[in-house]
Subunit: 127 residues, 2 copies
DNA sequence: ACTTGACTTCGAGTGCGCTCGAAGGGGGAG
DNA sequence: CTCCCCCTTCGAGCGCACTCGAAGTCAAGT
């Protein structure tokens, strides 16, 4: 009788890796880097992630994929961990990021137009 | 009578740096990396860039700022240097980049929506 | 003649974000 | 009991794109 007593909505590192698209190595790295709460452990010392952990990881990957540096992600999570009362600071941080992203998107669009122009030259030349 | 015999539309590395937004260090690095033609030199061995060099640098910065890795930029310039006949290859390379950029822009936009959602939560909370 | 300052080469160093490998420890299947 | 696989920690290594510093050269200004 081997009863594996594991909380129902808890996931091991491999599950989380496949659900977030991150590698197990990267998940441990994020933990070391202070980007995620250390998850709880099972009897054997293995990480058990909750649904909430996955939710946070999902949001964090969006911050990362929009170019927020690790350092700023950490600042943000530290504000979150610090408890209630600093929501305005979090808002400022996220809004600054938002503006930075919009600027980069805009510049990328303008630069892409020049590249498109060149592409069209090649297309016309090979007509 | 010191006549400085320098071709009229030629620029030294500092001019080019300020006109392209790159540093002199970076310009030399790009040259080493095979991203630009080695410019001609004056009598004292200093680089003299032409208007055409600046044009290419301008385009190259657009490739870079849209995320094209150095390696691919080099592939592209090598095609250009190889002379006529490979325009279809250059077109393929630029189009592939274009698609990659569009995908990244799209993903960034979608991710930004989630961030905006969170921003709005904070805004509502502090109302 | 001397100073200043921008240029030259070469190679090493930096910062970021992973990425990997070694060494060891369970734990379930057969 | 053995096998195998996935987990653990720790620390080193990597790829990219610069970025910088040392040491030397040269030309022009005072």
């Amino acid at each position: 009788m081997t009863e594996t007593l594991i909380a129902e909505d808890s996931y091991d590192i491999a599950d989380v890796a496949s659900r977030t698209g991150l590698t197990a190595h990267t998940l441990r790295y994020y933990e070391r880097a202070g980007l995620v709460h250390a998850p709880s452990r099972d009897a054997a010392g293995r990480r058990r992630y909750t649904e909430a952990d996955i939710g946070w990881l999902t949001f964090l990957t969006k911050l990362r994929s929009t170019g927020m540096p690790i350092r700023l992600v950490r600042e943000y999570v530290e504000l979150c961990w610090a408890g209630d009362g600093n929501e305005p600071d979090r808002l400022v941080l996220l809004q600054a990021h938002r503006e930075a992203v919009l600027q980069r998107l805009d510049e990328a669009k303008r630069d892409l137009e020049h590249i498109d122009y060149k592409i069209n030259l090649y297309r016309k030349a090979s007509s």
